[in-house]
Symmetry: C2
Subunit: 417 residues, 2 copies
Amino acid sequence: MRLELVNTGTELLLGDTINTNAAWLGQRLAALGIDVARQTIVPDGRAVFEGIEEAARRSDVVLVTGGLGPTNDDVTRECAAELYDLPLDLHEGVMAWLTDYFGKRGKPVNEASRRQAMVPRGAAVLENRFGTAPGLHIPAVLGSARGLHAHIFLLPGPPRELKPMMEHAVEPVLRGMLADGGAREVLYLKSTGIGESDIVDKIQVGLEAIADLDLGYCIGRGDVDIRLSGPRDVVAAGAHFVRERMGDFIVSEDRRVIEEVVVALLRERRQWVATAESCTGGLLACRITDVSGASEVLGEGYVAYANAAKQKLLGVKTETLAAHGAVSEAVVCEMAEGCLRASGADHALALTGVAGPAGGTPEKPAGTVWIALASGGETTEARKLFFPGARDRFKLLASQAALELLRRRLRGIPIPS
Amino acid sequence: MRLELVNTGTELLLGDTINTNAAWLGQRLAALGIDVARQTIVPDGRAVFEGIEEAARRSDVVLVTGGLGPTNDDVTRECAAELYDLPLDLHEGVMAWLTDYFGKRGKPVNEASRRQAMVPRGAAVLENRFGTAPGLHIPAVLGSARGLHAHIFLLPGPPRELKPMMEHAVEPVLRGMLADGGAREVLYLKSTGIGESDIVDKIQVGLEAIADLDLGYCIGRGDVDIRLSGPRDVVAAGAHFVRERMGDFIVSEDRRVIEEVVVALLRERRQWVATAESCTGGLLACRITDVSGASEVLGEGYVAYANAAKQKLLGVKTETLAAHGAVSEAVVCEMAEGCLRASGADHALALTGVAGPAGGTPEKPAGTVWIALASGGETTEARKLFFPGARDRFKLLASQAALELLRRRLRGIPIPS
């Protein structure tokens, strides 16, 4: 199956909006075993017709996003109908839905919105649960008179409308068109604490030896998703191999990020964590509290940016700071243990480092960070890491490593030296 | 000038990489007054030839990104040379540079890397300061024999290589092609605390009345950039109008984000700020410490997520919590004032709210937040705001509103009720 993606919208070409839809759709389609042959952005207006026509000449399936709204700029529906020479009929069901939608808001359906109930004759309506513009599926057979043979799907541009429609209305149709019925398994093994090239070294050759297994890597923010797809038993074999070779580095197999995994592990154990942050400046606590339900596992956190704050809030000793400097194993351990005492939590994570770009020295260059984990009744563990580069990336990777320290302790996995 | 953008790379179609280059280039070109007529992603391999050829038939300028590296997948250079029927010559200057680059790393230039020194005859080499693959400019005149008349620019895919090359090597050439020599001014007025539709109401009609002024809006994370471009005096007139109509909402005119502005204002005044966060869970402190030099203005911060932490760390009274609940004006003011006392800072920002999705009530639905600013010798000010929706967006907008409270106090601008 040859599939092309056409994204419409002048705002995408101006760079005012980043085209995240294309990447998201690419991932969903790759999971079905469908490669996107080409992706095009065309501006609002007549270019939409040209974009759809060219893609339809080359393809079996064309997914079009955007341009289904009520404004004059929105011409996707009309362009697709013109291409296959289909009249636009008022669709009773959509009109009733629009009338209800606007009625609840005390408004009539105005002329502009009424356009959204116009459907090319023979097209199927795809329900939009999160907006007013329905999606449309124009079957390939309707194009034969024009010498075209592509299924055209028209989808809304806003991601919160597009994504559920793709999952619930488009993917089932695409699966039906695939020889294997799209009966593929897709599994994402999310890894952290190991670079992409080391992952490749550990698993690539072995996975390539498994017939019918598709392999991809998706670089995230401090983690790498290993994507396995293919028939169910093949994916199971691949996953088994990955777990054997690098299971300790696998955070989740359901796309959950590490903060979600850590919060879930703490909730299961009914344990609390507290944070003592210098160089990450609150990012670690922020990531933990990004998870709904975090209030059951995090009661408090400290941002101890200045040395005076490390002493006052966490009881770091003047002598320790003087003897070792703020970025040292001794200080980070005192921070973690002081945080454990002050908070009364079960676990305390502490970080101190040089975020840069300023503040580095030859012994402690910008990018250096010490991370410690103190837990009631256990030895405090500390790690020194080095993340040179941009400040925001340093903070992200340092907080990621701190979460990984806690994940490993909660899972009983040794911490790499 | 008709310009198209061709991004090459299978990873973009698979969705493993989000195509941020396209948006960034779109913004740079819009600032020059050049609209991108179309953007296309083609996979690695023969499709690169087709993508460039089609774009070159339709355009005066084609910008191509990616596929200049040393691996077999990287065929952009060869495809462009074939299209204009140009032989590839070994370029002495590039070869010397590569020899030096690899020599410093103790390696010879291998056969694969040597391909990066091959230059289509007549093309200009564009220096790559951050990678091994040089960019190339194939002038339009070289295509005449093939009936093509497009300038083709080949640029590296990695953003840290692409961006400086675009700014230093491509934009000067494009400016030279423009009738006005690209002698345009571009100004970004960054606003916060006001929605896009309210901005449009305030300024759109007035700005449209200024001849030759181009206007764009770029929605950011909690802020909106108003982009004015055109001849210098026209942009100045537009900026004057915007300042008159909504000057209090303008955070910066040099693209600095609000945390950078606030840190700079505090440094000028040699003042300190401390943070007391419940619902934002550390994001406010994190954003302040994202700014290099933040250690001169932020010494400490508190994440007081649990009510017990609000009492212990910030001195919030049991009676106040009992009488008003944690999400209330009384509690947020006690948090801010307690934080000011505990930290000894000049200013203290406090937030308490319901991030959601759980935890809301009819009186205090998810999305409700109270924000307060206490400063030495001044009346504590508090604001109630409502940001329903996703949890991360709630945290972002709440922290943005807190920073805006402080920016306004530092600038002496009244806080809207």
